[in-house]
Symmetry: C2
Subunit: 572 residues, 2 copies
């Protein structure tokens, strides 16, 4: 009997070990007054923090987040960016695609396995709530005893964000207005939720309590973020960008950075002085504390790709035992020329899979979807679109609409178009006819098939302007096959794609007037958003949806229902 | 055959006449930038307007409002204030009491009969959305051929509101903070959605488009409201107050006003120079255009009952054919002394039922519920409460919880307390122990029984301060039996109550340090909110709920479900 119990215990422990541990989190999501850049505004917080608490886990662990919505009158949904949700597509957290919104007062349980080590993030995926502050990091460690292709003494992390003093509501109302009202460039860049606005610009405005100015540089909430290093040691710095709008450069005075990880994949290491990072991307860089140890150094981030109107975001690299608040002697780094695209393209091109970790891409795809990215107009509204369709979410989430037979006509079943007419379109000029249509059509992919997407950039509605769009794919990592300038030529350019050692990523930039080619295997049963990660661009329709193998998806939890045609229904 | 058809037609027409017509409205509710007092902010609009469109109907008509929620990420619910919802308690529009919130993208259908003529209003009843601008008037005419106890040449209406430049979100976050952050007095008073802020106070702030100042006195949206009159004619002016906070006085330079209607009931007419009106009240006054016809006159409204920090709200009474925009020669009326309570109490006492329309009250009640109104603290939060309980809404609306057997333990079944201990409580001092408890307990009333409520005021947490609270009862009109100063004495005061010709109302003020006695018959099957109509006070817990005859309520529409325990359920 004792032996039997012991045997059972051993079996249980083995199961525990192979299935990973459970990492349980209880979150309370609400609006609170915070002053991340010294300027007080309402921020969506998780357990009182923005960025929210970092989720730490080990490969194979199960993460459970019990999310209580305390926003009062506003719903919420949270996406686990970079987590593929294999077997749990209902936990992807995209309102309108994979779930109904979480009502005020409701507690929703997200449960998923983190099956790959690396640096990921989470953020709101409903309206423009990411911009309001709902985001944070996910760090998945390799199992104990597993080595990584680089070594370091300690691990630090940083979330980069851009910050508006207007509310996400105000920005959304402007985007929906005729004429279109643009909120403009962000007021601040935040490093780990901390920035510094020039309070003298708003000296006359009162704070909510009426006890002082709305902007107070002595508020401890906006003292710069400090990363402590010991001279001589090597650090892994995990960097994630959750910006609403901005492409960023990031640098550390006097320190090289060796890029070793991108979106959870090991990179063939290379050294940069500046890291370019787009919204939705994560990187790990190694830094060595090998500079003059008697002082501190600025870590700085600046806007690139758009004419900046936002000052440098700065944090302190603190060489122990210098005082952590001691300002470095120089100004924070001002960043590169904002409109010098070449170094940015070069960095993206330079990122290849680490030789020991190459996942060879299939040599052929069965389907090529070309996506012309354009700025458009629909009934007087300014929009963004793909192949002349601007995306709108249906009222019943796709995952439920496609899986549950009782849902009818939830969206337009006409397939979204696989291409545009390159011969008829000059990507270097504003569209002669900018009018597009709203659509909730999707791409249905053959399960297990290999699909190429050619993202094709174009001129916006403004002459001589083409923007950088970071595209993010849910539920997959894709191979980054190549980048080019001008119109993608299927004959000439396809032969130059990297089918040897491409990096896998979940987010990739599309450069001005350029193209980006990616490949992925449609082997994750579910419905997956693919969209520009610039929050206002997505809000204005810059996204598409892929379905693959939805018939293989397990029984949907009833907790994701309750809206559209699933209002008042119980999952059968 | 022709005769049969004719007969059928006559029957159909008769049914039509006896059942009233159907008044159908399609509403789109969304956030838009508006400048009601010249200061641009986000406003919740109905079909682009705030106040929303007036609902006009005739007694016995059926009103159908198809409300589309286009708020983006925020839910909504709309209450039809003063409409008793006999047989349709699910259309009362109170989130948490009679329905689940209406999700973004959803269209909810409110359908109810307006069974009594008079002046009513509608407004959001979710979070603090009323303050954000979602309100308007309901005017129910007497059937053609029916006379009213007064005559007039034409009918005009006016909605009074107070206006904050901060969002309802900001106010709510402050109310929920520790320490409590109070938004302060409103920036403007609006007459029919128009006011005038002193733009020089915010000259440096930009509008959303960045094209000019956030405050622009030449914006046509904030040109004063104009009521046109023809000299010599008599007008019925319907006045409703939907203020968030403020008690108001209203006057028209040089013109007497004869009060003829209150909350849909005919008043024994009397003349006032100033009308005092509390949030949730409606009045009709008659005015005669009998002054110097060569000029215009100010209509003015001012804050009373709180030390005002808000300028006079002004509109123009335009004597035709003077130019409607011609300013009257004097300053707008500055209003009475804010802290002179006696004239306000006197007006409330003077309002009696019109002799020809007295609804005699039952001479006895079977139950007296005394409600001590106090400001409290709960776990460091500042709250308002009744008999030491601060009200919180449950997660499943009461109407559904009480009617649908599958809902269990949706709220605390312990009855809410019928009284407090007058002997142990000094209403003239701040509470020695201000701590209260949160509660979602309710009052269950015997169906058809006659119930008295004695509202008993007290000192707030601040010494020498007692506020005016306008209490509003859903689903009923009540008889206003009396007002008094100090502690209500059941022996002495009950004998002085007016059981002869009390006015019936749905909203009644409770004056500082005073009591107000009302009586109603619990004969409307449903669940009904009774609460202070000051929006922040209700947000802070100043309300109770009555249930009566819920077993007689018809089958609940599934459209009201979808939250709490009804998420994923279909109405059986």
């Amino acid at each position: 009997m004792g032996k039997l119990l012991l045997g059972l215990l051993i079996v249980l422990l083995a199961v525990q070990a192979s299935e990973g541990r459970v990492r349980r989190h209880k979150w309370d999501v609400k609006y609170e007054y915070k002053s991340p850049d010294c300027y007080e505004k309402l921020v969506i917080t998780v357990n009182g923090q923005s960025p929210g608490p970092t989720i730490r886990a080990e490969q194979g662990d199960t993460v459970i987040v019990e999310l209580k919505n305390s926003l009062g009158t506003e719903n919420v949904a949270v996406h686990w960016h970079g987590i593929r949700q294999i077997g749990t597509p209902w936990s992807d957290g995209v309102e309108g695609v994979t779930q109904c919104p979480i009502l005020p007062g409701d507690t929703f349980i997200y449960k998923f396995v983190v099956d790959r080590p690396g640096t990921y993030m989470y953020h709101a995926h409903y309206g423009m709530q990411r911009e309001a502050g709902l985001y944070g990091l996910i760090q998945v460690a390799v199992p104990k005893g597993t080595s990584e292709p680089f070594s370091y003494d300690a691990d630090h992390s940083i979330v980069l964000s851009d910050w508006y003093h207007k509310s996400a509501y105000q920005q959304a109302a402007g985007l929906s207005s005729i004429p279109f009202v643009w909120v403009g460039e962000p007021q601040s860049l935040l490093i780990q939720g901390r920035g510094r606005y020039n309070c003298s610009l708003v000296a006359s405005l009162k704070n909510a309590a009426g006890t002082g100015s709305i902007c107070n540089t002595t508020n401890p909430q906006c003292s710069p973020h400090v990363t402590i290093v010991v001279p001589g040691k090597t650090y892994r710095l995990r960097i994630a960008s959750v910006t609403s709008l901005s492409a960023l450069s990031f640098e550390i005075e006097g320190h090289n950075m060796t890029i070793v990880e991108a979106d959870g994949h090991y990179v063939d290491p290379f050294v940069v002085q500046r890291l370019f990072i787009y919204s939705g991307e994560t990187y790990s860089v190694l830094i060595k504390a090998d500079q003059d140890p008697t002082r501190n150094y600025w870590m700085g981030t600046n806007v690139v790709g758009r004419k900046p109107a936002t000052p440098t975001g700065a944090a302190i690299l603190n060489y122990y035992p210098n005082h952590p608040k001691r300002s470095p002697p120089n100004m924070a780094p001002a960043g590169p020329l904002w409109n010098d695209t070449a170094p940015r393209v070069n960095q993206s091109r330079a990122i290849k899979a680490h030789p020991g970790y190459v996942v060879p891409p299939p040599q052929r795809s069965v389907r090529v979807i070309t996506m012309l990215n354009t700025q458009n107009r629909v009934n007087g509204h300014t929009k963004w679109g793909v192949n002349n369709f601007s995306f709108v979410l249906p009222h019943t989430p796709y995952l439920i609409a496609l899986k549950e037979k009782y849902v009818k006509h939830a969206f337009n079943p006409t397939p979204a178009p696989d291409s545009y007419s390159p011969a008829d379109y000059d990507i270097f000029r504003p569209p002669p006819n900018p009018n597009a249509s709203l659509s909730d059509s999707i791409y249905r992919l053959e399960f297990g098939s290999v699909v190429d997407v050619i993202l094709q950039n174009a001129n916006s509605l403004t002459a001589n302007n083409s923007e950088t769009h970071p595209w993010h794919l849910h539920g997959h990592d894709f191979w980054v096959l190549g980048f080019g300038h001008g119109v993608y030529n299927p004959v000439k350019d396809s032969s130059k794609l990297n089918l040897v050692n491409p990096i896998m990523k979940n987010t990739v930039p599309l450069f001005p007037y350029g193209w980006t080619a990616i490949r992925f295997r449609a082997d994750n049963p579910g419905v997956w958003f693919f969209h520009c990660h610039i929050e206002p661009h997505l809000y204005m329709g810059m996204g598409v949806v892929f379905e693959e193998g939805v018939e293989k998806v397990g029984r949907l939890p009833s907790s994701i229902m309750g809206c559209g045609q699933t209002k008042g229904h119980r999952s059968p």
